[in-house]
Amino acid sequence: MAAPLFELKDYSVHFSTPEGDVPAVEGLSLSIKPGERLAIVGESGSGKSQTFLGALGLLARNGKTSGQANFEGRNMVGMKPAALDTIRGSDITMVFQDPMTALNPVLRISRQLTEIVEVHTGATNADASRQALAMLAKVGIPDAEKRFNVYPHELSGGMRQRVVIAMALLNRPKLLIADEPTTALDVTVQAQILDLFRNLTSELGAALVIITHDMGVVAGIADRVGVMYGGRLVEEAPVDDIFESPQHPYTRALLNSIPRPDRPVSEMQAIPGRPPNLLRLPQGCAFNPRCAARTDICMTMRPELLPGGAGRRVACFNPIGAMAEAAA
């Protein structure tokens, strides 16, 4: 088995707020192999974004990480910014949801692209420009040379996201983290951008973490899927298994609640209630108030994330497959 590229071990992110301590991410263990495509799925407040922002030292000032976030064996938790800068922006890069806020509105895109190369590799400006132009062409910006000196506002949303992706890939990262990279885009443009992620990460051999709430996006791009709920990983499995035989009731409920062409509205099952308030997480399993398979133990004990078959883990006292087996 290949050694993991990036590994979270008992990793937590907490925020201190006037209302109290918010455990945004709690006790997470997860690893990513080189070249792998992992999707992290969850609703707002599930901790999916904060997990990776924390590892890269990009939390809001009241946020704090603990545990381990190892990149090629180096723990990024507690690392000084100067040391982090040798990893982030070069070996690990990130693409955000809104390309307009990810780009500096008062700098030409040429400057924003070349800066990254110059800072991290010490290349000359001419050399950096050449690399940046080549990357712009690669991400599908037509007439890259003509667009090289424009400002972000002169580009469409799809083009801006391509520029951001070009920035993220310029230093040939080993791990690219994309946080809802297509949520702000139209569906035809979303299809283009997802194709780009697929093709370029495999061409460069980079691992990809795609953070999303869209199961359609997950199905189209991921090898493996992690499902988060209330700050914890509740299920992890290869992509086909997640869709075909989800083991956690939340995963199944999520799949049953999305509109599908082969299913009438009457068969869509909404999940009752709403995602938990992290300040007042329910006792036991965070999903228990909304769970149809809840038993007494779910309200007092928190289920551990345990192996649930080949390459799978699930945190549930009554996982779905096991119940079927017991009944059979």
């Binding site: 299809a191 199905a219 086909d240 799949l255 609640s257």
Partner: protein
């Protein structure tokens, strides 16, 4: 045949925009370009399109929240566009709208009771305070809000609950038509299904006609009887949902459908997709002839010179080659331009 509830004919809405430069020349942007459709009582019409396609402007033009420049909106025999402000206000009790961002569409300084009662106050000024409150509590129960929450303020509610308030406010005057402008886009996935089911239930119970504006084709396919596809302000395809989704006639509709991410990894791998190149052109300076020609893989000379007419019986398309694309049942375009 019964008369349709709503008949929109050649509706055109333009906005005047200035170029970026100071004192720049004003030019006009045609957001809704010669759109015609009908809607029957109790029917659900989906309007789909990407940003800038004019779908929201179309909905707002029908309600005269923005003023159209040409065409007519015939509602129960009269043209809404010709009504005085006073008469329009009266007509609005029968037609309501639900917006995308549920919290932004609620006045933060009003209690839930006041927000929901406001349309009723205008529509039926004769009601006493107690009668209004009773109506409000009835409607809150109908949309799944605890009636005890009447005195709370919008910020105390989650997005899904706020959208329920928006829906309660829209249906309290017992309208015949509700325009839903991206009603679930801002909500979490698990909450979206709740709101879709609520709208579906209310529609059947109250015999509402819905105009469902959305960029999410999976939702539209489930909820709508008929669907209309907009591109740069023009209708490029319209027809019964089942037909349009199974056999799209217009190359844009085909590409749009094939771009929808399928929540099934095996199907997603098998699927041959039409991936459009580029972005939609600027509506300020739309292409001549067919507006889609700059991104169409089927483009021919005629597309630049002649504007295609929306035609074809129940299932219409505005494409010079509409009939030919679907000759074999399986559109040829699927085989000629895949990006597998």
């Amino acid at each position: 045949m019964t008369k349709p509830l709503l008949e929109v004919d050649h509706l055109t809405t333009r906005f005047s925009v200035r170029s970026g430069k100071m004192f720049g020349k004003a030019s006009s942007l045609t957001a809704v370009d010669d759109v015609s459709f009908t809607l029957n009582a109790g029917e659900t019409l989906g309007i789909v399109g990407e940003s800038g396609s004019g779908k929201s402007t179309l909905g707002r033009s029908v309600l005269r929240l923005v003023e159209a420049q040409a065409g007519s909106v015939v509602w129960q025999g009269g043209d809404l566009l010709k009504l005085s402000d006073e008469d329009m206000r009266k007509a609005r009790r029968d037609m309501q709208i639900i917006f995308q961002d549920p919290l932004a569409s609620l006045d933060p300084r009003m209690t839930v009771a006041d927000i929901i009662a406001e349309p009723l106050q205008i529509a039926e000024p004769g009601l006493t305070r107690a009668q209004r409150l009773e109506e409000v509590q009835k409607i809150m129960a109908a949309v799944g809000l605890a009636p005890e929450m009447v005195n709370r303020y919008p910020h105390e509610f989650s997005g899904g609950q706020a959208q329920r308030i928006g829906i309660a406010r829209a249906i309290i005057t017992k309208p015949k038509l509700v325009i839903c402008d991206e009603p679930v886009s801002a909500l979490d996935v698990s909450i979206q299904a709740q709101i879709i089911q609520l709208l579906n239930r209310l529609r059947l119970e109250l015999d509402l006609a819905l105009i469902f504006i959305s960029h999410d084709l999976s939702v539209v396919r489930l909820v709508c009887d008929r669907v209309m596809v907009l591109y740069l302000g023009r209708v490029v395809e319209s027809g019964p949902s089942a037909d349009v989704f199974a056999h799209p006639k217009h190359p844009y509709a085909l590409a749009l459908l094939s771009a929808v991410p399928l929540p099934d990894p095996k199907l997603a791998r098998l699927r041959q997709r039409v991936i459009l190149q580029g972005d939609p052109p600027s509506p300020i300076n739309p292409p001549s002839g067919c507006v889609f020609r700059t991104r169409c893989v089927y483009v021919k000379d005629v597309c630049a010179t002649a504007r295609p007419v929306l035609e074809g019986g129940e299932h219409k398309a505005a494409c010079h080659f509409a009939g030919q694309l679907t000759k074999s049942g399986e559109p040829e375009i699927l085989n000629s331009s895949t990006n597998a």
